[in-house]
């Protein structure tokens, strides 16, 4: 086929994204620089000097970073194990990893409320064993948000990692061991760097997902707002669309910065990845 016409295949998708994504993003972003009929950075200045807003920004970044780190730590061993299974078992494990994605985040958050609440399963259990006398505040803390987000996004990390790990030639690990590397060292020196592309994809998915998640922090965080719930409050509750557009722009910029940093780290860890 003629190359010129080949590009036509992209056209429908391109138009869709242009109309429903690129243009709205541009409108939102541009309107954040526009106040009272003039172009100004005033909105950003007041946002970034306001302790209440800054707290929320840092809390959001903190929660996303923690969630991503925990997903990496929990996901890596699982992905390595699953990637070495035979086809049939691998399918079962991957299906098991994907399965939670079929349950709505709302349902999952409610389950966590039942588990983490003052009279929830967890507190009741701890009281029964006699570790505590008074219930501990789990629900409506940052910890609760992190737990909910890890539960939500761990499958993405695992699947991204399995994707690269199952393509690592196991002879490389054997070669490393024959050269004197223990199991642990060969994992760190060979398997880990070669998994970096999957790690980057997984981390970006989890980080950006955590940064923009709405339901989970809303239900498990209580009064502890994050950027997405703040955005909702500003736009729909307070009808302050100007501040909302600033929050949205900051979230977009943060996303790009994170992707950039991840790529830098990837290049350091695996120059050929």
């Amino acid at each position: 086929m003629n190359k010129k016409y080949f590009y036509l295949l992209l056209l429908p998708c391109f138009l869709f994204l242009l109309i429903f994504m690129v243009i709205p993003i541009l409108v939102t972003t541009l309107s954040s620089f526009y106040l009272d009929g003039r172009i100004t950075l005033e909105g950003y200045r007041s946002f970034l000097t306001d302790h209440y807003f800054l707290n929320i920004l840092f809390r959001t970044l903190r929660i996303s970073l923690l969630t991503t780190t925990i997903c990496i730590i929990l996901g890596f061993p699982v992905a390595y194990y699953v990637s070495k299974l035979n086809v049939k078992l691998k399918f079962i494990f991957i299906a098991a990893a994907v399965f939670p994605l079929l349950i709505s985040p709302v349902v999952r958050s409610f389950s966590w409320m039942a588990i983490l609440g003052r009279e929830g399963i967890f507190n009741t259990l701890l009281k029964k064993i006699g570790i505590i006398n008074e219930p501990i505040q789990f629900l409506y803390t940052e910890l609760a948000i992190v737990i909910g987000l890890v539960h939500l996004f761990l499958p993405l990390m695992i699947i991204a990692l399995i994707g690269v790990m199952e393509n690592i030639d196991y002879d490389l690990v054997k070669a490393a061991q024959s050269l004197g590397a223990s199991r642990f060292t060969s994992f760190i020196k060979i398997v880990f760097p070669l998994s970096v592309p999957g790690l980057v994809v997984g981390s970006v998915l989890v980080f950006v997902g955590s940064l923009t998640a709405y339901t989970t922090p809303q239900l498990l965080g209580g009064s502890r707002r994050v950027m997405s719930t703040l955005l909702y409050q500003q736009s729909l509750t307070l009808n302050n669309w100007y501040t909302a557009s600033i929050i949205a722009t900051i979230m977009i910029v943060a996303t790009f910065i994170i992707i950039g940093i991840m790529n830098k780290i990837a290049q350091k860890l695996n120059p050929k990845g």
Binding site: A175, A176, Q177, S178, G180, A181, I190
Partner: protein, 357 residues
Amino acid sequence: MSLISLEDVTVAYDNKINILEKFNLNVEKGKLISLLGPSGCGKTTTLRLIAGFLEAKAGKFTFKDKNYTNIPVYRRNFGFVFQNYALFPHLNVFENVAFGLKQRKVPKSEIRKRVPEMLELVDLNGFEDRFVTELSGGQRQRVAIARALVINPDLLLFDEPLSNLDANLRIAMRVEIRRIQQELGITSIYVSHDQEECFSISDEVAIMNKGVIEQLDSPSVIYKYPKTEFVARFIGFTNFIDFEVESSENGKLLLNSNHSKFRALKTNDVKVNKSYKGVIRPESIKMKSYIENEKQSENSIKGSIKISTFLGGLHQYVVNTELGEITVNSDREPPYDAGENVILSLPEDKLVLVEKG
């Protein structure tokens, strides 16, 4: 005393069929021994067992008089050269070769000295900064050899190291491997399914079939005197004739086949009145035109040409005889015609009796 000894070793994957069963192998220090056999006969399994990648279900592996059976791979100090090179794709040539030295906590200054020395040995000086993906197959295998050698291994293991290379490079590389092996005097085990490759570089060759070593000898002994039918077939004998041993005296055998008498040298342990396969290479048989009433010499038989194939420089003929079809090579010009009557003589020192297999 052998450097390496495998005693009654049994190996299975996933605990199912035994790939090796009560397997035995001894290798002397400084020798290069090859394992040669058809695909799937257990060569790689044997090598991986010695390397420590696989655990034996039963049996013992002794190295330098020490029991190595349960010593993990990374404490064995054996170099392994893989068929697919198994170079680390995220490291450059220098870092690949330096990998084993780093594991041994060799000081940086010494690593910087020894890596270039090794690369020099495999004729790759100046390639330090290249990434693996920027090398040709032959260069990759040289890096793999350098990487295995730089740790001064007690044993070097090769698993079909040349089978991914093209024919010319294969020949050049096997000469290179033999040169390096002899220069360093390093004991090596070399796996291949290519007969010429094994014969040209080995001190000894073990011919394997279905997890068993059928014969272990020097290449020239195997080439001339195979012990079993399988070995004979594998190394290019084409004629397999049933014989019964009538008598055995002073290293000479008198054989009987279909009422014709033949003589052969006793090269293997054969018993009188038992039947064996007599094997002979097509190029060892002498052929001439049949002349009526001419007195026939010993060890010869009459036949007629059935098929003639041009092999370039010579013809290969399939000849019908009382003993069955016999394949013969001849460079006579003009070539024999189909249907022509001929006399074949089988020199007694070229006719070898082997166990039926």
